[in-house]
């Protein structure tokens, strides 16, 4: 009988307005590889943040029992001290420092308070051997590929005598060879007695190496599957991931009138030279007038990148393939070109790149079409106020006045301002990136209703969403993306949660 290394009892964590985890139970035995699986927002990362002390003791309810003792981590270092290490998807390495400095950063090899660099290098070499990485410890991190960087993160964890290693989607950014490599290493570490918790969206990996897999859904533990009992296979996992009851929260759309194709992609690829890989690969899709297409997929599938590559390419990807908008091949140089062709893009990250938080509602609403409130370059303030009042009323934006600073509004109302801004620009093709992320049910319903109204007016909508319910409830057709590729197209009738999840976890 294996020893239990970690038990989390009835963990509940709430954020303002959202219950991220509710009474989660999670048990890990020593020396096993334990996967955490679930949809985006199921609570996997939150649970791991609770475990590693990112959310300190007292900010959650429930107990963490680690090595037989109830732990109260007040900061991340407390969990590091007892041998828990977490490696995030976005690596926490310093690109301009050499490998050995990165490995021992915060854990320097000291003699009388002075760093002994030679000793550090010698020790770093040992650690690199442990992760089967043959690189000179003196090279800079930025000169290594993502796969090797990932291994260095692990080496760093090993240097701190890790007993429980947590990896958050370690293979999301890796190619196949590197992923393979990493999984081999994890198995190797298991032999050395290191316990490993992995978050992953790639079910093939889970099936390949997991001893156990715990499925989370909507902040609750659904089940823990055991490989020894033959429970770990893709079908069972997916069934448990998605088995949510569908509520009828999506407003019905009457008389669907679908017209001609107005946007097409042929073999569309986008290469990100900073990341050194394709973020979109050989995408083919089409959008017709009066249609909502859903783009489903998990985090990092390349959906936002796809949207940006079509919308004037603000990230300067290298693009190949054809983008056809309004029956003509387009080569947009700037977002303003895409806007001129009737495209609009409501961003996923409304605070980061969607809104002007320090400005009021009025100035935000007019920002994408300043010409619409100006006469030969001179703004008509009153016309602008009229426009803002119009959208405040029609989108039910709850604010003390249109003079209110957008940063002070709630998430749902910010999203409506963002939507209002783009509706004022008068688009034919509206791209909505996670249109209801982080907003309450009431506001969601309102946004869905607005989408239906827009379709009635003859607009077409591309909706990127991680919420399966929303994708199924709103879309006429669904494209599923994973690893930058469109893995499949499903018609509204044939699409269901299992099929989408199957394609998304390929």
């Amino acid at each position: 009988m294996a020893k239990t290394i970690l038990e989390m009892h009835n963990i509940t964590k709430t954020f303002p307005g959202v219950k991220a985890l509710s009474n989660v139970n999670f048990k890990v035995e020593e020396g096993e590889i334990h996967f955490l699986v679930g949809e985006n927002g199921a609570g996997k990362s939150t649970l791991m943040k609770v475990l590693s002390g990112v959310y300190p003791y007292g900010e959650y309810d429930g107990d963490i029992v680690y090595q037989g003792k109830v732990q109260q981590f007040n900061k991340i270092n407390d969990s590091v001290d007892v041998g828990i290490a977490i490696i995030y998807q976005e690596l926490a390495l310093f690109p301009d420092l050499p490998v050995y400095e990165n490995i021992y950063l915060g854990n320097e090899v000291k003699q009388n308070g002075v760093i002994n660099w030679n000793q550090t290098i010698v020790k770093a070499k040992e650690m690199l051997k442990k992760v089967n990485l043959k690189v000179n410890p003196e090279v800079l991190i930025k000169d290594l590929g993502v796969g090797k960087q990932q291994l260095i993160e692990i080496a760093k964890a090993l240097s701190k005598d890790v007993k429980l290693l947590i990896l958050d989607e370690p293979t999301a950014a890796l190619n196949e060879d590197d992923s393979e490599n990493l999984l081999e290493l994890i198995k190797e570490l298991k032999k050395q007695g290191i316990t490993c918790i992995m978050i992953s969206h790639k079910l093939k990996e889970v099936v390949a190496i997991a001893d156990k897999a715990t499925v989370l859904r909507d902040g609750e533990t659904i089940c823990t599957l055991d490989a020894k009992k033959g429970e770990i296979n893709e079908r069972t996992i997916i069934k448990n991931m998605v088995g949510r009851e569908m509520n009828n929260i999506y407003p019905e759309r009457e008389n669907k009138k679908i017209g001609d194709t107005i946007l097409e992609l042929h073999n569309w690829s986008a290469y990100d030279s900073q990341l050194g890989r394709h973020v979109v690969k050989d995408a083919n899709l089409h959008l017709r007038k009066g249609e909502i297409i859903g783009i489903a997929g998990l985090m990092g599938a390349g959906r936002t990148e796809l949207a940006l590559s079509m919308f004037g390419n603000p990230k300067q990807y290298k693009l190949t393939g054809d983008l056809i908008v309004n029956q003509q091949k387009r080569n947009f140089k700037h977002t303003s070109d895409a806007i001129k062709e009737g495209m609009a893009y409501v961003t996923e990250d409304r605070k980061g790149n969607g809104l002007f938080l320090l400005q009021n509602i009025t100035n935000n609403v007019s920002a994408a079409k300043l010409k619409g409130i100006a006469n030969s370059g001179i703004i008509n303030d009153n016309e602008e106020i009229k426009v803002a009042e119009h959208y405040k009323k029609s989108l039910h934006i709850k604010a003390s006045s249109i003079e209110q600073m957008v940063g002070k509004l709630s998430g749902g109302n910010q999203q409506k301002v963002s939507l209002g801004k783009w509706l004022f620009a008068g688009p034919n093709i509206l791209i909505l990136d996670e249109p209801t992320r982080g907003i309450d049910v009431g506001a969601k319903f309102e946004i869905y209703s607005v989408m239906n109204e827009l379709i009635d007016q003859g607009l077409s909508i591309i909706m990127i969403s991680s919420e399966l319910g929303e994708v199924l409830g709103m879309s006429d057709r669904v494209y599923v993306m994973a690893e930058g590729e469109i893995k499949g197209e499903l018609s509204g009738e044939e699409a269901d949660q299992e099929k989408i999840m199957e394609l998304a976890t390929q």
């Binding site: 919308f311 004037g312 603000p314 700037h334 977002t335 303003s336 895409a338 806007i339 893009y345 961003t347 980061g352 790149n353 969607g354 809104l355 002007f356 938080l357 320090l358 400005q359 100035n363 007019s366 920002a367 994408a368 300043l370 010409k371 100006a374 370059g377 001179i378 703004i379 303030d381 009153n382 106020i385 009229k386 003079e403 209110q404 600073m405 002070k408 801004k421 620009a425």
Partner: protein
């Protein structure tokens, strides 16, 4: 009673905007008392405003540069260098004033576009790019004045820009007539534009302030314009420097508040990524703002050279820091997207008042620097504290 309530809520809501005016008022009244009325005398006010002119125009441009989250350290020596070029063109090439001034302003724009290229196109941090410019133009200034040393400008029309006054057309009540007329026109124009704004708002059925408050505001601002006009008319009247600064302020105030370009500038400063995704050409805006900055530096150089009636080898030294200080005292925020042109002017006058007042009181230069530093820090602290409260 109702009017008082309305007024007090208005003031509370806009404390950030009014803060500077109140500070300026307090500073002026204090100095006036301490100097037994010398500070507010016609001659001193006239001097004070003229001495603030070449910094004020820089502060206007600098405000917009800081609004888009950049900085321009080169403006001081660009002003010094172009001032020297102006002197050379006038005295050594013998070109007339009306040709020299456009040439100098154009050169300023070219320099600004070069800054814009480094910052917007190549992505070099503005601090570094303009620091390089500062060194280059300091060298260029020394180079062009090397043979001659200080170049004396003997051109009455040019020097009038820094020292001269608008013509008098005669005296009335022992006051400068044209100045009174200009001031009167200013008041009428102000009242007209306020009434028109109100009328437009009413046409759109928008809420407007009550007629009582409006009358109070009109009377208050008109009194201030009237008073300053009256004071200045008691000496030599409005100076050309003052007229130029007023012109620049009005144009920039209009651009930043009422035009598409102005909106784009504030949008870029507020959130450059969101601006880009909203179809705004961030690069173009950066080019324009940097070009306008260096054009104003050229203007500053002209004003300074004209004021000294000569181009010196050290002209422009530390102008950039005075301009940046004035902009911050005027309420610009380094986080971007916030800051007014009118604030920059007030900031420049506040800083000039401090110098002037302390000179009158015979405060030692060492204390002057410390006090000005303290005021700068205080202004920014005020800004940070009021922003936290926010709306």
């Amino acid at each position: 009673m109702k009017i008082l309530n309305e007024a007090s809520t208005l003031i509370k809501e806009n404390i950030r905007d009014y803060g500077m005016y109140i500070a300026l008022f307090v500073i002026m009244v204090t100095f006036n008392m301490m100097t037994n009325g010398v500070f507010m005398s016609s001659r001193n006010i006239s001097n004070l405003l003229d001495s603030a002119g070449y910094i004020a125009v820089l502060a206007v441009g600098m405000t917009l540069v800081i609004v888009i989250r950049h900085i321009d350290l080169s403006v001081g020596y660009v002003a010094g260098f172009l001032g020297a070029i102006a002197a050379i063109l006038l005295m050594q090439q013998g070109l007339p004033v009306y040709i020299v001034i456009p040439i100098i302003l154009l050169l300023g724009i070219v320099i600004g576009l070069m800054n814009g290229f480094l910052i917007a196109q190549l992505g070099i941090p503005a601090f570094v790019a303009s620091l390089a410019g500062m060194l280059i133009f300091r060298g260029a200034l020394l180079q062009v004045t090397e043979g001659t040393g200080t170049i004396i400008v003997q051109n009455a029309a040019f020097n009038a820009l820094g020292n001269g006054f608008i013509p008098s057309l005669g005296q009335i009540l022992d006051r400068h007539l044209l100045t009174l007329i200009v001031g009167g026109i200013g008041i009428i124009f102000y009242i007209y534009s306020e009434l028109r704004t109100r009328h437009d708002k009413m046409k759109y059925n928008f809420e407007v302030v009550s007629i009582g408050i409006l009358a109070l505001k009109l009377a208050f601002v008109s009194t201030i314009i009237g008073y300053i006009t009256w004071v200045l008319a008691g000496y030599n009247g409005f100076s050309w420097t003052l007229m130029i600064v007023l012109f620049v302020t009005i144009v920039y105030h209009f651009i930043s508040n009422r035009t598409v370009l102005g909106r784009q500038i504030y949008a870029v400063g507020s959130n450059p990524e969101a601006a880009h995704l909203s179809g705004i050409n961030v690069k173009k805006v950066t080019y324009l703002v940097m070009a306008s900055m260096s054009m104003l530096a050229a203007l500053s150089g002209i004003l300074y050279t004209a004021r000294l009636q000569s181009a010196t080898t050290t002209a422009g030294m530390l102008f950039e820091l005075d301009a940046i200080a004035a902009a911050y005292v005027g309420g610009v925020s380094s986080a971007g997207g916030v800051g007014k042109v009118t604030g920059a002017i007030i900031g420049a006058i506040v800083m000039a008042s401090l110098t002037n007042g302390m000179n009158l009181l015979g405060v030692g230069i060492s204390y002057q620097y410390m006090i000005r530093g303290g005021v700068l820090a205080g202004a920014v602290i005020f800004d940070v504290l009021t922003r936290k409260k926010g709306k």
